[in-house]
Amino acid sequence: MVEVLFFAELRDVVGKDKLTVAADGMTITELKEKWLTSYGVEKFNVAMVAINEEYAPDDTLVKAGDVIAFIPPVSGG
């Protein structure tokens, strides 16, 4: 199982700040297709992904215990 975190607009879209899903061995792309399409793909596709607090490309394989964060375009400062 992996933990998936949502922030800002994505948190509003999903309606919660995290989900725990079965995605061990999947790529980020596969995780999105399996678990997140019901929330609308567009907003997830413009988001970055961080695995364990580091940016990672969509073809990265996730493993059990990973923390996956979807990071919409940032607007700090």
């Binding site: 964060a69 919409p72 940032v74």
Partner: protein, 162 residues
């Protein structure tokens, strides 16, 4: 250990940030403070709400300090960003960089705020009289279509070589 890069829910005191970078080799300190502006493009902001992915945001702030140290040498940097509800004129972000000479201090603190707007997972929600909106950095829209901003992609390629 002294914490020079942090996210807080409390009001920010510029002095606290500055105090972290004072040292005997420094002759110049440049600070940047971002405060909540009332009007943006003619639209009136009532207040802002900031959200952060706190542990990652603090890591990325520290990374920016590290980048500054590599680019300019002999620097000391501190950065704090506030989250939660912020009223007009409250401080959202404060940066301080100390260097031996002033030119580097200005360049480095400007670099810091530019990088914050690129890579640090913090989001701003505008609260106007007629609605709310989570703001994304418009400059990065194109790059985001490819999955992540150009600046982060470059960085990851560099990281692969290390």
């Amino acid at each position: 250990m002294e914490k020079n890069y942090w996210i807080t829910e409390e009001p920010i005191q510029l002095q606290d940030v500055m105090d972290k970078v004072v040292r005997r080799e420094a002759g110049a300190i440049s600070t940047f403070t971002g405060i909540v502006r009332e009007f943006t493009k003619g639209k009136r902001t009532l207040y802002l709400e900031y959200q952060a992915y706190i542990p990652m945001a603090e890591k990325k702030l520290a990374q920016i300090g590290q980048e500054i140290a590599e680019k300019w040498g002999n620097t000391k940097t501190a950065i704090v960003h506030r989250i939660g509800k912020l009223d007009i004129s409250e401080i959202a972000v404060a940066i301080a960089v100390s260097t031996p000479h002033r030119k580097d201090a200005f360049e480095a603190s400007e670099y810091a705020i530019d990088r914050i707007k690129e890579i640090v997972p913090i989001w701003k929600k505008e609260h106007w009289e007629d609605g709310t909106l989570w703001i994304g950095d418009q400059q990065e829209t194109t790059a985001y279509k490819q999955g992540m901003p150009a600046k982060v992609q470059m960085e990851m390629k560099q990281g692969e070589k290390e």
